[in-house]
């Protein structure tokens, strides 16, 4: 089923509420933004995954020094 792209315009001065289809320009901008947002999100997720890897490495090194899991976790946020 084809998705319909509509905008609810609420004029706060008059109280008028209009639901209308997106213009071609608005639709293009909307779709482009979503593609960009997805790309930004994936970059961010990759950064988080890299941080998790560093954290796991640090925990392993602390364990090798003899710290318990709880002691090592207390040192790393």
């Amino acid at each position: 089923m084809t998705e319909i792209y509509t905008i609810a315009d609420i004029n706060c001065e008059t109280g008028e509420q209009i639901e209308r289809p997106m213009t071609q320009e608005e639709l293009t901008a909307h779709l482009e933004r979503q593609v960009q947002a997805q790309a930004d999100w994936e970059v961010h997720q990759a950064e988080l995954a890299a941080k998790e890897q560093v954290k796991a490495s640090a925990l392993a090194k602390l364990a090798a020094l003899g710290l318990t899991e709880e002691e090592a976790a207390a040192l790393i946020i």
């Binding site: 998705e3 319909i4 792209y5 509509t6 905008i7 609810a8 315009d9 609420i10 004029n11 706060c12 001065e13 008059t14 109280g15 509420q17 639901e19 997106m22 608005e26 901008a29 909307h30 933004r33 979503q34 960009q36 947002a37 997805q38 930004d40 999100w41 961010h44 988080l48």
Partner: protein, 177 residues
């Protein structure tokens, strides 16, 4: 002037809608607050609401920071996103979720008409996540690198095409005593 908290406008969607746009926001208040109870058509457990002010979609005009707690554990900490064309990132429910679950967010925008200050704000939200009613609790810092008075606020989704039928959006205004 007595302190007031007034409903400016409220909308409940009767059909799926891609964007909500509050326009011609009166300049008679001191602060604004948005209450959102919404669900996205995105086929994931959750989605995120984003905001744009005055139709500004310029790259780098906005930033945001976000903390997310999932089932009692801090799982995500977002730094400010450079070159963002929006702010917000408030968690709401997605469509891969139990039916009739809607995420909620409260967004506060202080001094929205004060042209001496860069516009900041914050948001708190909660959306059910997964089949066990786990909570995705989010706290956001919002930033628009602009001192213009805010006269319109557009709400869009990060990933989904539409806000689902039954989603509600309420804009309130505060005046200070």
């Amino acid at each position: 002037m007595a302190q007031t908290y007034q409903l400016i406008e409220s909308v409940t969607l009767e059909s799926n809608t891609a964007s909500i746009n509050f326009s011609s926001i009166p300049s008679t208040y001191t602060h604004l607050e948005l209450l959102i109870q919404a669900r996205s058509t995105h086929t994931q457990p959750n989605d995120f609401v984003i905001l744009r002010y005055n139709g500004n979609s310029t790259a780098g005009a906005y930033a945001y920071s976000s903390l997310q707690v999932l089932s009692g554990y801090l799982t995500t900490e977002n730094g400010s996103v450079n070159s963002s064309t929006f702010t917000g990132f408030c968690s709401i429910s997605g469509d891969n979720n139990q039916s009739n679950i809607f995420g909620i967010s409260r967004i506060v925008i202080p001094e929205y008409k004060n042209t001496s200050v860069t516009k900041t704000g914050f948001a708190v939200g909660n959306s059910a996540y997964g089949t066990g009613f786990e909570s995705s609790i989010t706290i956001q810092g919002l930033y628009w690198n602009n001192t213009a008075a805010i006269s319109s606020i557009a709400l869009l989704l990060n990933s989904g095409t539409n806000f689902k039928t039954g989603s509600t959006f309420q804009l309130y205004g505060f005046t200070k005593a």
